[in-house]
């Protein structure tokens, strides 16, 4: 059984985001880029499934500019067996990514496709659902626990929903998207970083996969959230009530 994991290169979780002066997007020049934390969790889960003997190979896929190879190397250093890079400098929206992934699934024929539930840069939370739709596979999103039964070809997925925990049984092949509490990803150790250097990364272009990159979405403007105004000290309860009534209009 083969597991495919999608990993995205995003602005590092700990970096303070700055909006470009021309408001076309956020600053990514000279900014630390890392693997999306949810994708790390997805990869970790795939590796654990492989280590428990339910899978024989983990393939990591990343899409975007050439630096995505660095993110793939991180994935390989964590333990993925090989990488696939879809080279594209165009902006990739979730539907394009889902179409590219569908094309790759048709080439690689994985039994399980694991993705992060969302990427921390655009917070779309759409790709997993879209690819499941395109492939017509069952989907277990926001997974907080995954158990694979190889014999029955079934994956049992716990998902965190508003009412509590929902448990789904998915027939394989299936799509799983990972939530924060699923696992704690491992670190890349030096021996594995060295080994990762010789692992293969195959390169595709969207043309190779016969996917046209276009979008019905247009970004008009990106702006920072309004700055929080400084608070004021009130001198009496009466003043507070007055402000709540007449300025804040909440009572």
């Amino acid at each position: 059984m083969k597991i495919m994991v999608a990993i995205k290169r995003v602005v590092d979780y700990a970096v303070k985001i700055r909006v470009k002066p021309d408001k076309t997007g956020v600053e990514t020049q000279n900014v630390k880029m890392s693997m999306n934390p949810f994708c790390e969790i997805a990869l970790e889960e795939a590796l654990r499934i492989k280590e428990s003997g339910f899978a024989s190979e983990v393939v990591a896929v990343s899409m975007g500019p050439s630096q995505c190879v660095d993110t793939l190397r991180t994935g390989l250093a964590m333990g993925a067996d090989r990488g696939i890079h879809v080279d594209s400098t165009a902006t990739l929206f979730p539907l394009s990514v889902a179409k590219l992934l569908k094309a790759l699934v048709e080439v690689e024929k994985p039994t399980l496709l694991i993705l992060g539930k969302q990427a921390i840069d655009d917070d779309c939370n759409q790709t997993g659902q879209m690819i499941a739709g395109l492939l017509n596979w069952p989907q277990g999103t926001f997974a907080s626990k995954v158990i694979v039964d190889k014999e029955k070809q079934v994956a049992t997925v716990d998902r965190e929903i508003d009412d509590g925990i929902e448990t789904l049984s998915l027939d394989l092949p299936a799509v799983i998207t990972t939530d924060l509490r699923l696992n704690q990803p491992r670190y890349a150790t030096l021996p594995n970083i060295m080994k990762a250097k010789s692992k293969p990364i195959k390169k595709y272009t969207p043309q190779d996969l016969k996917v046209e990159i276009k979008s019905d979405l247009e970004i008009i403007q990106v702006t920072e959230p309004p700055k929080r105004k400084a608070g004021v000290m009130v001198s009496s309860v009466d003043e507070l009530i007055n402000k709540l009534k007449n300025e804040a209009n909440v009572i």
Partner: protein, 579 residues
Amino acid sequence: MVNCNWKATFRFITHSPKSFFQRRCIPPSRNPTFLPSASTSEFLCLGQRVFPFFNSLSNRVDITEGCIGMPSAVLRKCYGSTAGLVQRNPKYSTLNDEDVSYFEGILGKKNVIQDEERLVAANTDWMHKYKGSSKLLLQPRSTHEVSQILKYCNSRCLAVVPQGGNTGLVGGSVPVFDEVIISLSSMNNIVSFDKVSGILVCEAGCILENIITFLDNEGFIMPLDLGAKGSCQIGGNVSTNAGGLRLVRYGSLHGNVLGLEAVLANGTVIDMLKTVLKDNTGYDLKHLFIGSEGSLGIVTKVSILTPPKLSSVNVAFLACKDYIICCWTDQNCFNTCDVLMELKRLEGKLLQEAKRKLGEILSAFEFLDIQSMNLVLNHLEGTRNPLPTMHNFYVLIETTGSDEAFDKQKLEAFLLHAMENELISDGVLAQDINQSSSFWHLREGIPEALMRAGAVYKYDLSIPVDKLYNLVEEMRTRLGNVANVVGYGHLGDGNLHLNISAPQYDDKILSQIEPYVYEWTSKHRGSISAEHGLGLMKANEILYSQSRETVQLMASIKNLMDPHKILNPYKVLPHSFSS
């Protein structure tokens, strides 16, 4: 982010209600023979009543059993180690109502604090080891106000203690008896910043972390970074010549501080607030104020050269089998030429070039032993061993440079070589900032873990790198199983933090440690205070690291600048020299 936990605890401890401090403190019953020979006679001839530090507190024990759910080990930490016995110098005046009204006249009522709760916090150091009994806390807002305060105190012979963030580890920032506390916290403005030269001028009360945040927005960094950054203030950092984590890269504050403004004991304002890198006009007196722990004057403003922020930071957390290897790795890192020579067989000029290129990206070289690692893993929530197994030694290497791909390649090449030659047995390389922070947390969290583990005797020593860990091993043999001896520190600077952790403070343990540690360090021509300063804890031990003549000259300088000895008394210089 990772620091949050630590900071929260820190704030909690700093701002705990007064009941926290009102427990009975066990007065240390020190045997005078453990005092260093230089000052023994001085102590013995005192003759009369000798006050333990906490005398003032021991009469208010009432209320507070089981106050706020703190572990009892922390509550019992009311113990001054070395120099346990000092007598209040009777020549100092006692504060009276007229003094208070005078200060209120200068500063306004709001900034003259007599509130007991706030005084308890200001009287106690953050380890709860040293407690004074000051009745007055002053919060000047300008250099002029500091000057007026000192002028008055000098004329009245009122002793004062300047206080910044009160994060010192040697009892230098809290009163010993009833000294008036002058807090610089309200002087927290950034005066100017030159984006071209990177020269920052700010007031002494600026909190280090706020300066770091300010500079970050401007694309610069502080040449100084330390665990207490959320509370410590730049004036205190300069006055104690704080070292910290980046010293190996950016050097000490003696190099980075370009100028300062200080107020002398008699109120004279000395303006040395230079914003130029080079200035050879006479004696460079600013250095007298850097590291003199407020005993020669109060630093009110500083001018600091800040380096530009570089985008590429890599952190590796490595495991070594034994210290010799760990220290050998260290040397290799500095003489990277060796590594490269073997790697690439480069010679001559090329080699020199490579040495420069690798040398420039190293920004921290820290180490911790397995005992330190265990403490952190056991006492700090959310920490985990980055490596699959435990190892005897860990080294944290940080590189900072301008080209991520280039730096990573360099570091990886170095690490690969080190692995191949079995200098390191395992290691991890941070893949994102979150991972870097968690590696740093393992190193920076050690003091907090030690606090939680119980009583701790802290020693901050400079020792030649090759012998540095011998002391830890010798102490371990000496103490057996009565205490947990841990060693960590800034290996790149040859700075060992020797910490001895015990369930509670115990004179027997102390007598096993001191003066042995000082004697050992002195024998190896090290320094008994690498970066923490002397404060009250080590004032009497200075002769282990400085010659009698040097200390005599220091005492003469002190005498010249502060003839009434009102500034931070009982600290820095041995009591025999300063009285």
